[in-house]
Symmetry: C2
Subunit: 421 residues, 2 copies
Amino acid sequence: MALVVQKYGGSSVATAERIRRVAERIVETKRKGHDVVVVVSAMGDTTDELLDLAQQVCPAPPAREMDMLLTSGERISNALVAMAIHSLGAEARSFTGSQAGVVTTSVHGNAKIIDVTPGRVRDALDEGSIVLVAGFQGVSQDSKDVTTLGRGGSDTTAVALAAALNADVCEIYTDVDGIFTADPRIVPDARHLEKVSFEEMLEMAACGAKVLMLRCVEYARRYNVPVHVRSSYTTKPGTIVSGSMEDIPVEEAILTGVAHDRSEAKVTVVGLSDQPGFAAKVFRAVADAEINIDMVLQNVSRIDTGKTDITFTCPKADGPTAVEKLTKLQGEIGFTKVLYDDHIGKVSLIGAGMKSHPGVTATFCEALADAGINIDLISTSEIRISVLTKDSELDEAVRVLHAAFGLGGDEIAVVHGGTGR
Amino acid sequence: MALVVQKYGGSSVATAERIRRVAERIVETKRKGHDVVVVVSAMGDTTDELLDLAQQVCPAPPAREMDMLLTSGERISNALVAMAIHSLGAEARSFTGSQAGVVTTSVHGNAKIIDVTPGRVRDALDEGSIVLVAGFQGVSQDSKDVTTLGRGGSDTTAVALAAALNADVCEIYTDVDGIFTADPRIVPDARHLEKVSFEEMLEMAACGAKVLMLRCVEYARRYNVPVHVRSSYTTKPGTIVSGSMEDIPVEEAILTGVAHDRSEAKVTVVGLSDQPGFAAKVFRAVADAEINIDMVLQNVSRIDTGKTDITFTCPKADGPTAVEKLTKLQGEIGFTKVLYDDHIGKVSLIGAGMKSHPGVTATFCEALADAGINIDLISTSEIRISVLTKDSELDEAVRVLHAAFGLGGDEIAVVHGGTGR
């Protein structure tokens, strides 16, 4: 008998019919003799509808009330799944994040889990119930207010519960059959991966692979919780995310896949003094605006002027704020101008095999060059190469890299719409 | 400076536009220098939509999960009102029933308030915030589960909070201008009442007046909380429910109004032994099925047979269960047959003046007789006369009684649709 944590995304519970199907899958797991804890996202469009209502009554809603509002979505979906389980003759009990002991920081809209004290969950399991926990939410340690965990929060709830309950596996049910070597919507022959190490998955998630959110993978790696990514709509085996890259024998180490990301914008600060401390001033200004920076490039200084340029990428949504903040500090920091480009895309090749195979970077650049795709900026890690391209060339970049490294499979992947949170 | 508790029903917050108007009224009260606590029902059709969803996933949903589901409706409306208040430049904080300290019994779907410990509400008031509390819900003392208070629960939440906070007044905002001498939809010249005693309001509510629910009035009377019933749509003065009937000087005591109720059914047990204990068996059987009985009539025994008939009324929804239960026990209890009639209506005349004015019952019966309306069953209290009629004759009965006792006013009441919970 195992303890299984399952998480179902919003599209998996978008209608009463889908809720009934999810309930069947949950009850099936329970009838195999396992203890089952289930985390469900809000139904399909619920969150968007609530956001729309909020916008109608208040242009800039306070974050605390926004959390109170949005968390009702998961209350609804979890109670409905509990009811559907009940109608199949099994016992089920739903808990809010707070009731399940998900204790967080007080940052409304983007709280971090500090601790999980699942006493009530454990008691309900011991009584033979299937336990439902509302994902994406918790209660702040200081003020005991309702908080939300930000994007991908339900996945994080599931992994955190799995860690706290010492579960055997955390199954993430989504609308795809697992992790692929590239997004099957762009690369039709993208190959399904049976197993991915935590490190590779971290790089994939950081580079825009949307199946698992970065924070969820970080949590799983830290607490060593095996994550099983599966489709809600099929019984295919999915992908197991577990173990360290170090455990993969060098000769078996391969390239994992190609990830892409359209969510970033590029900011360039032109004509900055190339002296110690000036780059720091730029990044401090951006950090003060609570903006996360991804890639960074500093050009070599021009001998004639002693000036340099700094380029960084950040989320598109934060781009205008970054530009505004820097422009305001132009006199204080000292630079010529700020350039902004939100028509960019990032494509990344990830794989533990990169370490032991020379020439990967060369092949990477050649493939893009052959397709006439210009590289704007390059950044690498031990197991990743990322470049910026024009957004209009991103899909083609994904396809040529996927082909150049022979990542394709024989099977054409089936694509379903939508993603949960 | 006063402490004011305000309650807004579901129709008052049915749209974003109405939510903004409610917010304006709340902020206006706050700007007059008062501390304000607000209880809001779920938006318009939310509850019906959630009930419909529940029905689709489970024909007989467990009550605990139903409470988890339905309470999200008030979470949504309260957070939205808090946001709307925020956009008007005032501070607002919303709390769930549990956070506001509304502690209840564990009877899901119909829990009773045991205690209110509004520590967090008080703290937020002290910090200058307007406080929103989700109505209709609490947390069970034993299991710490989310509970609901049943019909009219938000009114009860408001009155209970007003009592616990020692508020100066509890304002119930609804879709009518206050309490009238009869339902203005039936009697166009129904007169608005400025003030009604708790006892009179209790009888009105018990006899079908829907403006305030019985439990809310009982709570207000017990804790002596003045209740001010007002319209969300106008600034008319409304009706104050407060004080004891005993405080009304005899010469000023008058008739309060005519109430009606279409929600009951009539059950007659025919041919019961007229010996001690047999009636008790009938009522024990009905009580065991958790059915509330309203009116009761036992005929005089027939000399030839020593048998009698017992008639009672109960909610229409429970009628079939009552008949089934009694039929099952027919042999054990011993009677000839059970008759069932759900085409009945109850009309009641209420007023403290009844005590000191002889002839009220005679006028009552004459008025109905003159209109050709047959009386099926009569029951009276110190300040009330109620009779059963055919449901098709109920509206006419209300009108002729209202006219016979000269209760009409000059103004034609304005009627809005819908009621909250």
